[in-house]
């Protein structure tokens, strides 16, 4: 069962703020990114899955108080400021929550072979032989 389905637009907006290159992903790219995350979440306790959804919903709606708009309606600069506030929060709970969400976004993006290739990561099981 999908964890992200209920919060997909907000999750994608967050992921694209964490990794700006994600904005250029096509439908298949997003599908792969989310498949990686769903697979990782499937092994985690349901309680943690619920907490993640609550956090994403909170990120979507809390900017209404400050900016008068939901997270998904903000420009990229304001989105970054919202996430930076979480990352720098004096509350460990919020920092930790954002750290987990950020980790998932980075996993979904950088664990894709296409992303590894795009940054020039070139490790090969054949080692030196593959380079010479």
């Amino acid at each position: 069962m999908s964890v992200l389905a209920a919060v997909r637009p907000a999750f994608r907006a967050i992921a694209a703020t964490v990794v700006p290159e994600a904005t250029s992903l096509d439908a298949d790219g997003w599908k792969e990114l989310e498949r990686i995350i769903e697979q990782a979440l499937a092994a985690r306790p349901p309680r943690l899955q619920r907490q993640l959804v609550i956090l994403i919903r909170a990120i979507e709606w809390l900017p209404l108080l400050r900016y008068g708009h939901r997270f998904t309606r903000l420009d990229s600069g304001r989105r970054a400021r919202v996430l930076a506030a979480l990352q720098e929060s004096p509350l460990l709970l919020l920092r930790r929550g954002f750290w987990g969400l950020r980790t998932l976004a980075l996993m979904g993006y950088y664990a894709r072979p296409a992303a590894a290739a795009s940054i020039g990561y070139d490790a090969d099981p054949r080692g030196w032989e593959a380079r010479r």
């Binding site: 703020t17 964490v18 990794v19 700006p20 290159e21 990686i36 697979q39 990782a40 092994a43 970054a80 996430l83 990352q87 720098e88 460990l92 920092r95 930790r96 750290w99 987990g100 950020r102 980790t103 976004a105 980075l106 996993m107 993006y109 950088y110 664990a111 072979p113 992303a115 590894a116 940054i119 020039g120 990561y121 070139d122 490790a123 090969d124 099981p125 054949r126 080692g127 030196w128 032989e129 593959a130 380079r131």
Partner: protein, 503 residues
């Protein structure tokens, strides 16, 4: 209710890593004497061609929680493997012997450094430990040597236990060329040749006071890597004359806590882990970093400043996770991957009240860990030293999680002490991970310990511990050789007591 199938062994070893694999081989001669010895390993046995080097695929297959086992505070991840060979599958093969000052500090009655060293040297030889020749050293390591010398640090080369290393750089994902001489390549196969049985995908749920183990053998999940278990899936009752717990710090300690035994009060206490940060620096030109052995050199400032620096090279997601922040700056560092140099900073933590392994209501392990001021100070000093080495090696900018902003440009190289400070350490913001898990079943004497100097659990002479959970305090270096030496000692004690305990 159907009775569980029963099996009987003279010796049951729980875990197959540096501790369990060593004990298995060292007790194999008992099989010749007609004794039955079995090893239970929670993870699967992998075939050689299953090590692909793909980051997520291998991390998910080899590590508990994919390498992201979280502490109860949610501020640090712990890396340990579940596989035939345990965590020896995923280390880099760096092979150091215990420092004399540390063993003296442990103060375990009857345990002396010379004895450990003698046993360690035997395993160094058995595992083909040697220094890599200069032509196999990549730029990432060479720059550490050059920068370290220029910055005034004493850089030492790691002896490593490889045979036929092709320089894949993928050690932490399981060597695709089977070059590392872990227990999966050396001790376990030898033990099996001599008649020791190894049962994989077999989790020991608890140990009863009558020396019966409840063992759950799992089915191989559809599409998963690894072979099916040697036993039919299901639960078993296994009677054993002697039980050796070697499931690693988390496995052994949680097993003892789950078991209805009259165990010593100190089980779970004294957890240490050398918390670590991955630091990266950008050079102006591409360097060889994702090819070649990743961890060939180190700087040991443990005694003086409570940190150790090691060369390292990680994979895209692990690297991305280790960097602070997000957005354009973060992406900029990731896009510089072919120009990145990496250093692992390990803080030498000490056994501290409250830092411990416990279990939750369902018997699952829970690790409680708070960073002491001394540990944070060690990590900060280590980060400053790493930054100096990076800049001395020619880096144009350094990413330091204890600086805000974390990117330090070369023009600010002289200001690292001012920019990298403890006030920028915020739990839940800086990515800290640990792979040197130690303590929980400390050796020693009396009520302050769990076992004696031979790994005998106090009050339960048939129950032994033979892994890093024996360490009464941090070892301050890569622990596998010391684990093997201690496990060898535990096995010697078992051989000596076998007649009395087994009849």
């Amino acid at each position: 209710m159907t009775a569980l199938p029963e099996r009987a062994y003279d010796v049951a070893i729980v875990g197959s890593g540096a501790g369990g694999g060593t004990v298995a081989q060292a007790l194999a001669p008992l099989v010749r004497d007609g004794r039955r010895v079995v090893v239970f390993e929670q993870g699967p046995r992998f075939d050689d061609d299953e090590f692909t080097g793909c980051e997520l695929e291998m991390a998910s297959a080899l590590y508990a929680d994919g390498g992201g086992f979280l502490t109860a505070q949610g501020t640090m991840t712990l890396a340990f493997a579940h596989a035939y060979g345990g965590s020896t599958l995923v280390y880099t093969g760096t092979s150091l012997t215990a420092p004399e000052r540390v063993i003296r500090h442990w103060g375990v009655p009857g345990l002396d450094h010379a004895d450990l060293l003698r046993r360690s040297q035997r395993y160094l030889a058995e595992n083909n430990v040697h220094l890599l020749p200069p032509e196999e050293i990549n730029d990432n390591n060479r720059l550490f040597v050059e920068g370290g010398a220029r910055a005034g640090y004493r850089v030492e080369q790691f002896p490593v236990n490889v045979k036929g290393c092709r320089g894949s750089s993928l050690c932490n994902l399981g060597c695709p060329n089977q070059a590392k001489q872990g227990t999966n390549r050396v001790q376990l196969p030898e033990a099996e040749r001599q008649g020791v049985e190894v049962v994989t995908r077999a989790e020991v749920l608890r140990i009863e006071p009558d020396r019966t183990l409840t063992v759950r053998v799992s089915e191989k999940p559809a599409g998963a890597k690894g072979r099916p278990s040697e036993w039919t899936p299901g639960e078993y009752r296994v009677r054993a004359g002697i039980v050796v717990c070697a499931g690693g710090v988390i496995g052994t300690t949680s097993l003892l806590l789950r078991s209805p035994l009259p165990r010593p009060r100190r089980v779970g206490e004294g957890f240490t882990c050398d918390p670590a940060l991955i630091l990266v620096a950008e050079h102006p030109h591409p360097i060889t970093n994702d090819v070649g052995h990743p961890k060939s050199y180190f700087v040991d400032r443990g005694a003086e400043q409570r940190f150790v620096l090691e060369t390292c090279m990680y994979f895209p997601f692990t690297t991305a996770k280790a960097l602070s922040g997000f957005g354009a700056d973060h992406s900029g560092v990731m896009r510089a991957f072919p120009r990145l140099q990496m250093i692992l900073v390990l803080g030498c933590d000490a056994a501290t009240p409250g830092n411990r392994v416990s279990i939750d209501g369902a018997g699952r392990p829970v690790v409680r860990y708070r960073f002491t001021d001394e540990t944070v100070a060690g990590l900060v000093e280590g980060t400053r030293a790493a930054a100096r080495i990076f800049f001395a090696a020619g880096a144009v900018r350094v990413h330091a999680p204890f600086a805000n902003p974390p990117l330090i440009e070369a023009r600010d190289a002289e200001r690292v002490n001012e920019l990298i400070t403890t006030r920028h350490f915020q739990e839940g913001k800086v990515a800290v991970s640990a792979a040197h898990l130690m303590g929980g079943c400390a050796m020693g004497a009396g009520a302050a310990s769990v076992t004696d100097g031979w790994g005998r659990v106090h009050g339960l002479p048939w129950l032994r511990v033979a892994d890093a959970s024996l360490f009464p305090d941090s070892l301050e270096i890569n622990p596998y050789v010391t684990i093997m030496a201690l496990a060898d000692r535990v096995a010697q004690g078992i051989r000596g007591d076998a007649a009395a305990l087994l009849g």
